[in-house]
């Protein structure tokens, strides 16, 4: 439908410079420039390297997205950008770019939450999100269970990792096994040749008195590393495929068990899985099986939409426009620790939205005290 909001989204929270364009729930362009190769030899993302790469890639990536979408910048209804959470210096490049672009085009700016964007992207794959949506977000930066009654206004954290993110654990184990960086894809590949039952690694936070929805992968990581070292000390060959499969099984067992439990406990009949680790084939398979057993419908976007990208930011921006949420102010901050409970960062002077984004309507200033989300 041509009257659905046409929004460009910019994502720079980590090492992907993403620019996406959507019309409502329709994906028109999803351009990503990654600096992952530059980080590989360090075993993780180096913030300054990522920030430099964002600056280099920003304008060419915007240009490619517009070209591939076949739309004119002047037709956009808004520009959305990840305001946080993420790496501060990296976020700042995207936020600066989005402000400049929106301002130059005379369009409203929407600073949105990276985690809510990971959930909202599924609208591009499976249509409107059910309300509420239960979401399991798993990547190198986050491992969270979120309940979202309204993705533009009400996202509630049920649980999250208390130490390492799931993707971080994959990277660290890959490093111990000398498989390189990033670890997710290579362990997934190795695991296909291995036996997931070969070694019984610990399942973190699954005891009767543990937090029901929180995760912990640090103990698992240590246990796997010790097991490998013991083999090496004994002069035995490390069965890489079996270790990969057994480690991966321990991670996805806990993730899917807790996610399905959260759906049941909260009476939610849909589960959305997003984030880079959602591309893991065993996670997808086990989630599908357990959801089916529990009568829960599983929604997992295609892998390219699960990793960080601009389309997810555009998807949430389009939802903000569609629901007439207020735009952000020109002094929008990049907030490296933006709480997940804030799906977007509205202009504190216009917290209710008026359709016209940057009008100079000061009628609502008196409501600041009760509606200011920033104090």
């Amino acid at each position: 439908m041509a009257d659905e909001p046409l929004v460009l989204g910019i994502e720079t929270s980590c090492d992907e410079t993403g620019v996406g364009i959507v019309r409502g729930h329709t994906l028109l362009a999803d351009e990503v420039a990654s600096s992952v190769d530059e980080h590989a030899r360090f075993g993780g993302v180096v913030p300054e390297v990522a920030s430099r790469a964002h600056l280099e890639a920003m304008v060419p990536t915007i240009r490619r997205a517009l070209k591939n979408a076949g739309v004119a910048a002047s037709d956009l209804d808004g520009v959305a950008v990840t305001a946080g959470p993420g790496l501060a210096g990296a976020l700042l490049v995207g936020v600066s770019a989005a402000k400049a672009y929106a301002y130059a085009l005379g369009k409203p700016l929407y600073g949105v939450n990276h985690l809510a964007s990971h959930i909202c992207v599924d609208q591009l794959e499976h249509g409107a999100l059910p309300e509420p949506t239960m979401a399991l977000l798993v990547s190198g930066g986050h491992s969270s269970l979120l309940l979202a009654p309204d993705i533009t206004a009400d996202v509630r954290p049920l649980g999250s990792t208390i130490d390492d993110a799931a993707g971080e654990a994959f990277d660290k184990i890959a490093r111990v096994l000398n498989l390189g960086f990033p670890g997710g894809p290579v362990i997934d590949r190795m695991a296909r040749e291995g036996d997931p039952e070969a070694i019984r690694f610990p399942r973190g936070l699954t005891g009767p008195r543990d937090a029901v929805y929180d995760f912990s992968f640090s103990g698992l990581k240590t246990a796997v590393a010790r097991w490998i070292e013991a083999k090496r000390h004994a002069g035995e060959e490390v069965p890489v495929a079996d270790v990969s499969a057994s480690f991966q099984e321990a991670v996805v067992d806990v993730l899917t068990r807790k996610a399905v439990r959260a759906c049941k406990d909260n009476g939610v009949d849909h589960l959305m899985i997003g984030g880079g680790v959602a591309a893991n084939s065993r996670l997808r398979a086990l989630a599908a099986q357990r959801c089916e057993d529990a009568g829960v419908r599983l929604r997992v976007p295609r892998p390219k939409l699960c990793t960080d990208n601009g389309a997810m930011v555009a998807a949430l921006g389009a939802e903000m426009v569609a629901r007439n949420r207020p735009a952000s102010a020109w002094d929008l901050s990049a907030d490296s620790s933006l709480p997940v409970t804030e799906p977007h960062v509205p202009d504190p002077a216009h917290p209710h939205g008026h359709g016209g984004a940057h009008g100079h309507d000061h009628d609502h200033v008196h409501e600041l005290s009760k509606d200011n989300l920033y104090s």
Binding site: G43, V45, M58, L87, L92, A104, G140, A279, A334
Partner: protein
């Protein structure tokens, strides 16, 4: 000619609009931690004061550093995207050259040194024959390591004020902070004379710190 100049390579967030013969409006704020928040509102204010829109601008001028990276990128990103959105060219200027030009306007004749604070006990600096003529490439050094090269010269800028043992005499009445008005005037002069300006690419002068934080974020499969 209508130039919009901006620079965020030093603690200053500075924006100015110049019509080729003079400055129409400017905004100067000093807050090393809020470049990202302050720049766009400053642009909006400057254009508003001059009563023009961004679409009237015929060229963007941006300080390319050297400067601490995070702030530096705010200005470069903003100018680059403005240029992309409006189809109007963006020109780079060495940030130290802007300060040198401002110093010339304030009455200091050469030779002199310009030094800004590079943090980590270092300065970004260059030597000038006069306000328009830089003699050395911009560099980053510990003040103690460049005393031979700057000895006997007056010095200006926040870096000179920070390290009086190295830079000695800082003349009275000289601007300390970067001024987009001076940069715009310099760019206008250079453009009118048919001189090339720099591409809008950052002068970092240092390699990135290759340190992965304890809880780093990673990309997983694509």
């Amino acid at each position: 000619m209508l130039l919009l100049a901006l620079d965020t390579a030093t603690p200053a967030v500075t924006v100015a609009l110049h019509d080729g013969s003079g400055v129409l409006a400017e905004s100067n704020q000093v807050d090393a931690r809020r470049h990202g928040e302050l720049l766009l509102p400053a642009v909006h204010r400057v254009l508003g004061e001059a009563g023009v829109g961004l679409d009237a601008v015929t060229g963007f001028v941006v300080g390319v550093g050297p400067g601490p990276y995070t702030g530096l990128r705010v200005g470069l990103t903003t100018a680059g995207v403005f240029s992309e959105a409006t189809g109007v060219p963006v020109h780079g200027l060495c940030t130290l050259d802007g300060i040198a030009y401002a110093v010339g306007l304030a009455g200091l004749e050469g030779p002199f040194t310009v030094a800004t604070d590079a943090r980590r006990k270092e300065v970004y600096w260059a030597r000038y024959a006069d306000a328009r003529t830089r003699l050395t490439d911009p560099a980053v050094d510990r003040p103690a390591d460049i005393t031979d090269e700057t000895a006997g010269l007056p010095a200006v800028g926040a870096g000179a004020q920070l390290y009086p043992d190295t830079f000695g005499r800082v003349p009275e009445g000289m601007p300390v902070h970067q001024s987009a008005a001076a940069m715009a005037a310099l760019a206008a002069e250079k453009l009118a004379a048919g001189e090339d300006l720099l591409p809008d690419r950052p002068l970092y002068l240092r390699r990135p710190d290759a340190q992965v934080p304890a809880h780093y974020k990673v990309v997983t499969p694509r």
